[in-house]
Subunit: 229 residues, 2 copies
């Protein structure tokens, strides 16, 4: 009877055309509305929260979630860590996933990026080079670069999914102890080449640059694996 509670709450959101950020009925109201106990309502809401559909704020209320892809990060990171500890090359798989997506992106992106976006990418690479001199590139800078890359596509979903993959990768690297980082100088050069290729409108070159970038990361990853076993 209360097994399709999740669906019914989803329907409620759809039917009422509730936009992200809109307040949901309170737990007590939902309890009456759906003719079920509060426990079940709460369990359903928790599940919806895990999916990013709903946003629960203690003492304040429940709201329609931002519908971002952020929850993906959670599951993906966990899956990857768990797989890693069981001896799978899950981190490598995650990296390949990102590579496939970004490669496909670069193809469509080349020559279609506004000069403003290109300038921002230039600035980010410049900052990377600065930071590389001080030792290591800040994580935020790298994230900003990848985020700026797909902004030009005008596809929020794509951006968020990529961001989620990136975060998951990052998180897993942070969770796993043994890590050796790549040469930051070489990494900068690769980033610069990516921007150059896109500016030149050379789709093939852009893809090659991305692939090259990932190939480098991958080889370092493999090194890590070898030492870990």
């Amino acid at each position: 009877m209360a097994s399709d509670l999740l669906e019914r709450i989803k329907e409620l959101i759809i039917d009422r055309r509730l936009p992200p950020g809109a307040p949901m009925p309170s737990e007590r109201e939902l309890t009456e509305l759906l003719g079920t106990g509060r426990t079940c309502v709460r369990e359903a809401l928790k599940a919806l929260q895990a999916m990013g559909i709903v946003d629960i704020r203690h003492g304040f209320g429940t709201y329609v979630g931002p519908m971002s892809m952020a929850p993906l990060t959670e599951g993906l990171a966990f899956r990857t860590v768990a797989g890693h500890y069981r001896g799978e090359d899950s981190l490598l798989q995650l990296l390949e996933l990102r590579e496939a997506l970004e490669t496909g992106l670069a193809g469509r992106l080349a020559g279609r990026l506004a000069e403003a976006d290109l300038a921002e990418l230039d600035a980010l690479v410049a900052r990377m080079e600065e930071e590389a001199l001080d030792g290591a590139v800040r994580v935020e800078t790298d994230r900003a670069f990848h985020a700026a890359l797909c902004r030009g596509l005008d596809n929020p979903l794509l951006s968020e999914v990529l961001e989620a993959f990136w975060s998951a990768y990052r998180r897993v690297r942070a969770d796993l102890p043994e890590q050796r980082s790549a040469d930051p100088r070489a990494s900068c050069a690769r980033h610069r080449e990516i921007v150059a290729a896109i500016r030149a409108g050379d789709s093939l070159r852009a893809q090659a640059a991305i692939r090259d970038h990932f190939c480098n990361i991958r080889s370092h990853l493999r090194l890590t694996y070898r030492f870990a076993r």
Copy 2:
């Protein structure tokens, strides 16, 4: 106090190296183990279930989940439907996401697919053509084609993510009423071209074929949008 219950249960899985399918402690045991009420344990488990980390079976027990990307489908489909009803081109975004990923895939796939896989793809296209004569291509056949495509990559994560995107797209199309389907005959030809390009080892041609395929779907989608408004 019980706010990081989720994390603690995840840790439990990691620490005990529980593989997918392994039995979790029962709710009552977890209650004692974590020193908290049963309600909270259940809420946490529900959330974990929504992330695919745990698999709950009534009257049987709770098990470590398959860690598949299937839950992604849920959230993605909902987000897309909700966005659509609010006037966004969310379905188009989802389609572009798939396109970017499959394009990136095709690049790496070309020439690297075993003959056995290619033969299977051939067979699937042949079946499509048969079904096209009877009216419309069965959904299962299309799914099988896309699934077979990435099997050659030996990257389960990639396959699952793609499958999740595909399912979400499919589900949304089914949920939304107004739909006009593409010409099945033309669709078959495009699928055949994709296989041919990959067999030829022509990375560029394979990408073009995929792009072409999606371009066709997209134009039909746009048509649908125009009529819907």
